[in-house]
């Protein structure tokens, strides 16, 4: 018999009632997904860390105002996206996500592989991750945003449309173009 994991909404509710462990669980559960969404959108680790902090600060501060009518992940990635756009607008005084550009990641973080995998495996992992990161970075900003919301946030079409403020058809089109481009780029890096 396996224990059923508590839902995100339940954890947030418990945090609002004063349980900080619930918030820590929530953070651990979504940390990497939010991190990859931010880092792969802005392409800059320092900016991503700053945004990461701002996003989770906002989650903690606004937890009491969260309405369970929407999934927690939808709410979380809405916050993340809004923070990201605000930050980039402030830094670059740009209004369109398409015009924000993308900073190609610099030196990839030091790779860690399973013990005993050997240096060759480490190199292969490094190359694979680097290829995917580069491919995502080369997508147009709005396509990148949409595909990251789907792959990292695991949001539905309707949720992505709601988060990005566009209609479902537009979102569907962005995702198709993004996936086609991604496949093409990954084939080149293969």
């Amino acid at each position: 018999m396996t224990a059923v994991a508590e839902t995100d909404e339940g954890l947030l509710r418990r945090y609002v009632l004063g349980n900080c462990d619930a918030f820590a669980t929530l953070y651990r559960r979504h940390e990497l997904r939010v991190w990859r969404y931010l880092e792969r959108n802005v392409g800059n680790r320092a900016s991503a860390e700053e945004l990461m902090q701002e996003v989770w600060f906002a989650v903690a501060r606004d937890a009491a105002r969260y309405q369970p009518s929407a999934r927690f992940t939808t709410w979380l990635f809405t916050i993340a996206r809004n923070r990201m756009i605000d930050s980039l607008r402030t830094m670059r005084r740009l209004s369109s996500l398409d015009s924000l550009g993308y900073e190609a990641p610099g030196v990839l973080p030091q790779l860690t592989t399973e013990p005993g995998a050997g240096p060759l495996a480490a190199v292969l992992v490094h190359e694979e991750v680097a290829a995917v990161t580069r491919a995502v970075g080369q997508l147009p900003a709005e396509q990148r945003d949409a595909v990251l919301l789907q792959l990292e946030g695991e949001l539905t079409l309707e949720e992505i449309a709601s988060v990005t403020g566009s209609n479902v058809e537009t979102t569907k089109s962005r995702l198709r173009y993004a996936r086609s481009k991604l496949r093409e780029l990954l084939r080149e890096y293969a």
Partner: protein
């Protein structure tokens, strides 16, 4: 021609490759970010709990508030009642005329009062005929007589008029108090004025200020002279009448039967303007009544700060 979007490919190798690479991606936010986030979350939770605790009082606090609401009301009422009782005890001491404040009694050479005097009760019972026999003075001053506790009234020494050696400027009580005490119970054969007085004893207590003013009705005797008119004007706070009195005729410090001057009566009535007028025209600020109470003491007891200030300005002690 626009390029058509690619067809739906919900899960293709690109997605799979992306997921595999993401799982291998060691990139993570720094430990400082995680620490800062969790610390901030704890602070927000603590602040939220503090606000909630402040907004919602604990049950014992609510009980405490109810308890406080319960206890202060009786305490306040008790305080007011105690003050009222003290006022009732003190006001007769200072204000109640033990003798009818009628016109000064003319005495013959033997010190006997004439047979006919003004019925003090006539002021409160205008229809009562003037009696042909002396009327107990306390019956004529029922407004204070009823407020005096019987024990206190009995303790007042009853002296015949001839036994009282009046001060040179005092009006002497003409009738012994014991007669008035008897009238409290012998209403059956009492004169109309006595019955009126007895009825007034059953009346509810009136405020000290009102009784002070009404007690002056007992002073209104025909042919009272300038001193009487002066005291009446001072007691009623009628500054216009004070100003209309012929200068130099009235003795500003003339006293009534209780030894009260116009200044004392104005003080007891709470008439600051009359007090100021009298003081400005030379009234003695330290003229005590028959009980030794000075105007300043009366003003302090009556909580009349304006009068207290005026009296002190003119050297009252």
């Amino acid at each position: 021609m626009n390029k058509l979007p690619p067809g739906p490919e919900p899960y293709d190798d690109a997605d799979e490759r992306y997921r595999r690479a993401s799982a291998l991606d060691p990139s993570r936010p720094g430990a400082a970010v995680r620490r800062a986030v969790l610390e901030h979350a704890a602070q927000v939770a603590a602040a939220r709990a503090g606000v909630a605790a402040a907004a919602a009082p604990r049950p014992d606090e609510r009980g405490g508030r109810r308890w406080k609401q319960r206890w202060w009301r009786p305490a306040a009422f008790a305080g007011v009642a105690a003050a009222a009782l003290a006022g009732l005890m003190l006001a007769p001491h200072w204000l109640a005329p033990l003798a009818p404040p009628a016109a000064p009694v003319e005495r013959d050479g033997a010190g006997r009062a004439p047979a006919t005097t003004l019925a003090p009760g006539a002021a409160l019972a205008p229809s009562a005929a003037v009696p042909t026999t002396p009327v107990p003075p306390s019956a004529g001053a029922p407004l204070f007589g009823h407020a005096r506790p019987p024990a206190v009234a009995a303790a007042v020494p009853a002296a015949p008029p001839t036994a009282v050696a009046p001060p040179a400027r005092h009006i002497v009580a003409a009738v012994p108090h014991s007669a008035a005490e008897q009238s409290y119970t012998s209403t059956g054969s009492a004169a109309p004025a006595e019955r009126a007085a007895a009825q007034s004893l059953a009346a509810p207590a009136v405020p000290a200020e009102r009784t002070a003013a009404q007690s002056l009705a007992g002073l209104r005797a025909p042919g009272g002279g300038d001193g009487e008119a002066l005291r009446q004007a001072a007691a009623s706070g009628d500054v216009a009448q004070l100003q209309s009195l012929p200068p130099g005729v009235a003795d500003l410090d003339a006293r009534d039967a209780r030894g009260r001057t116009a200044l004392m009566l104005a003080t007891l009535g709470g008439h600051a303007t009359s007090v100021a007028w009298l003081l400005a025209h030379g009234a003695d600020p330290n003229a005590a009544d028959a009980d030794g109470t000075t105007p300043l003491q009366a003003a302090v007891a009556a909580r009349q700060p304006e009068i207290v200030a005026a009296l002190r300005h003119y050297g009252a002690r």
